[in-house]
């Protein structure tokens, strides 16, 4: 388990902040490989949070970096590669969810944390299951906005850019998502 989740959130933040950003000046292969080394783990974790399926999460991230590599020469601003790949990963998640109808109707609804040991059972308590199940019942846009905002620590503007919507729409999705999440958790308690 990552002992410092905030570290990953920071790594996945906007290029030029805590992120190593784009290794400009490298060959496409070198640059994409370096970006992968820096961001793959965080992105796989993001996907896993969204999908609840680790192999699918790995596939989506792999595909996103392959896509980045194929389009590298057409990238208008290589410094935006991190934003590009983050959006690709989000799109990949949507595709996986769309493909699987049962997930699409209730993504993460059947989420069950793996049962590893008594120790981990303490960490993955009922409260966390409830939160993840409730999150899975939210509409897609609200769910994505909440994950980007509260897992990756993105600002509302960055969340909007990643989702391809306006900042006001992102803020609205976050507010409504939180309200709905609160209601669902109250009902279940």
């Amino acid at each position: 388990m990552n002992p410092n989740p905030r570290g990953y959130a920071a790594t996945l933040g906007a290029a030029g902040q805590a992120s190593p950003g784009c290794p400009a000046g490298l060959s496409a292969k070198g640059a994409v490989t370096e970006l992968y080394q820096a961001h793959a783990l965080g992105l796989i974790r993001l996907d896993y949070v969204m999908l609840g399926d680790r192999p699918a999460a790995e596939d989506v991230v792999q595909e996103a970096f392959c896509g980045l590599y194929r389009r590298w020469s057409r990238l208008s601003n290589p410094a935006s590669a991190v934003h590009y790949v983050r959006s690709s990963v989000l799109n990949g998640c949507r595709s996986v969810l769309r493909r699987d109808i049962s997930r699409a109707s209730r993504p993460l609804a059947g989420y069950q944390p793996p049962e590893i040991s008594a120790e981990s059972a303490v960490l993955t308590g009922e409260e966390r299951r409830e939160v993840m199940r409730a999150l899975g019942r939210l509409p897609r846009r609200q769910r994505e906005a909440l994950v980007l905002r509260f897992y990756l620590d993105l600002s509302a503007t960055e969340t909007a850019a990643t989702m391809g919507i306006s900042p006001s729409s992102a803020r609205s999705a976050i507010t409504r998502g939180l309200a709905a999440l609160g209601r669902m958790l109250e009902e279940s308690s």
Partner: protein
């Protein structure tokens, strides 16, 4: 941040933390956009260009006769303290003589489709990297998905399917569904060095396999038997008679790697021992290497001897990549191993490791890398009969790019042409 936001943040981070840091698979990039055919040599490795062409076959253009008759628990052996301190950048450079300690030719799947397989196979000279022959799969097949070699230096087995194998995203899923209506068939590739010709013969006696079921292929060293990893079972087929014998895995998890990649099966020279990977599934997924006595009675893989267990837990040594090889003398299992610190900042140690096939204990570690971040990887591509010479790929290139080479006596000699596809056989 209010209580609800804190609760949500904690739940998301704990869930994300279930993906261990050492589980990040290596990045497998498609061929460079707009570039086809032979991988370009890395210009900065000028010393590669100075290698003298050695084989007479170097000038031979490939002529293809497309005649299609057409327990040692591993965690117990090492402390879970993470990698040692200080950087290391792999084995020092060795001499060109090492290139003569490996088989003279290799077959590589080229023009990768998605992240594995290839639309062509290329036969190349090991000492020069020169292309000796190229073959495409006969119609209706669109690609080769697996390759394995006998020990005679000129016999190879190829698996061919119509579409592409399991791959990321929607395309992979669709391909998988389609491929099960046009299943995998097998071909024998015979290369004649003196004439530079290659002959591809369909092995109809082997029948077909649903492409998404196939997760590994290994030809026995004498070329008489083919072992197939079918995820929940292993099947060994006699090439002469087509007689099949199947061993089933009765427990949870599956036979083979996490994904259907890599060389997960390997034979001893006498064809009596067959080593295979078996993964537990779940999180963390535990990888085992077992050795099956193919001459013993029974049809259960649970009778196979457990040799190595990679626990998959953070801070413990794990299987660093895809391949595991039992040496032909049956004494050693060679694999790439990765150790990662349990605490941040993450540091990774990669090693080519030889384990006793009897006790599972580590006998030798070579080509050590200690790196400040996770992501770089090593793999074993071939081993000689004793494990004294192996072919590996490691991240010694600029910016961590993979370089394939011969490792002998902990000295590394780069292979001319720097093959990048891991679907390769010597």
């Amino acid at each position: 941040m209010n209580t609800l936001e804190s609760k949500l943040t904690a739940a998301l981070r704990e869930t994300g933390g279930e993906v261990p840091s050492e589980s990040v698979p290596p990045l497998r990039l498609p061929p460079a956009p707009g570039r086809r055919g032979r991988p370009r040599r890395v210009r900065r490795q000028r010393w590669l260009a100075r290698l003298t062409p050695l084989a007479a076959a170097a000038a031979v253009a490939g002529v293809v006769a497309g005649s299609l008759a057409v327990s040692g628990t591993f965690g117990g052996g090492l402390a879970a303290t993470g990698p040692a301190r200080g950087r290391a950048h792999g084995a020092p450079i060795g001499g060109r003589a090492a290139l003569h300690a490996i088989p003279p030719y290799y077959v590589e799947l080229a023009d990768p489709t998605m992240i594995m397989g290839g639309q062509r196979v290329q036969i190349r000279a090991s000492t020069t990297g020169h292309l000796l022959a190229t073959l495409r799969p006969p119609r209706p097949f669109g690609m080769f998905s697996w390759v394995s070699a006998a020990a005679d230096d000129h016999t190879f087995i190829l698996a061919a399917q119509r579409y592409w194998p399991i791959a990321p995203g929607n395309k992979g899923a669709n391909g998988e569904r389609r491929d099960n209506t046009t299943p995998t068939s097998f071909f024998k590739l015979s290369f004649t060095p003196s004439s530079g010709t290659a002959r591809l013969t369909k092995l109809a006696s082997l029948g077909t396999v649903g492409s998404s079921r196939l997760a590994g292929v290994a030809l026995s060293p004498d070329g008489s038997m083919l072992a197939l990893d079918l995820r929940q079972s292993i099947q060994v087929i006699s090439l002469a008679t087509g007689v099949k014998r199947t061993w089933r895995w009765p427990g949870g998890g599956w036979v083979g790697n996490w994904k259907p990649f890599g060389q997960v099966l390997s034979w001893s020279a006498d064809g009596k021992q067959l080593a295979f990977q078996q993964w537990s599934g779940g999180s963390p997924s535990i990888a085992h290497v077992r050795v099956l006595d193919t001459t013993a009675l029974g049809h259960s893989l649970s009778s196979a001897r457990l040799v190595i267990t990679f626990s998959g837990r953070p801070g413990m040594p794990t299987l660093g990549s895809q391949n595991t090889f039992l040496t032909a003398d049956g004494s050693t299992i060679v694999a790439a191993m990765m150790k990662e610190a349990a605490k941040s900042p993450y540091a990774t140690q990669l090693e080519i490791t030889e384990f006793s096939a009897r006790s599972g204990k580590i006998e030798r570690s070579m080509d050590t890398f200690r790196l400040p971040s996770a992501g770089p990887w090593q793999d074993v591509l071939w081993s000689n009969a004793t494990g004294s010479t192996v072919i590996v790929t490691d991240p010694r290139g600029k910016h961590g790019q993979q370089v394939a080479g011969v490792l002998t006596g902990n000295r590394f000699t780069a292979l001319p042409g720097n093959p990048q596809n891991e679907q390769i056989a010597w």
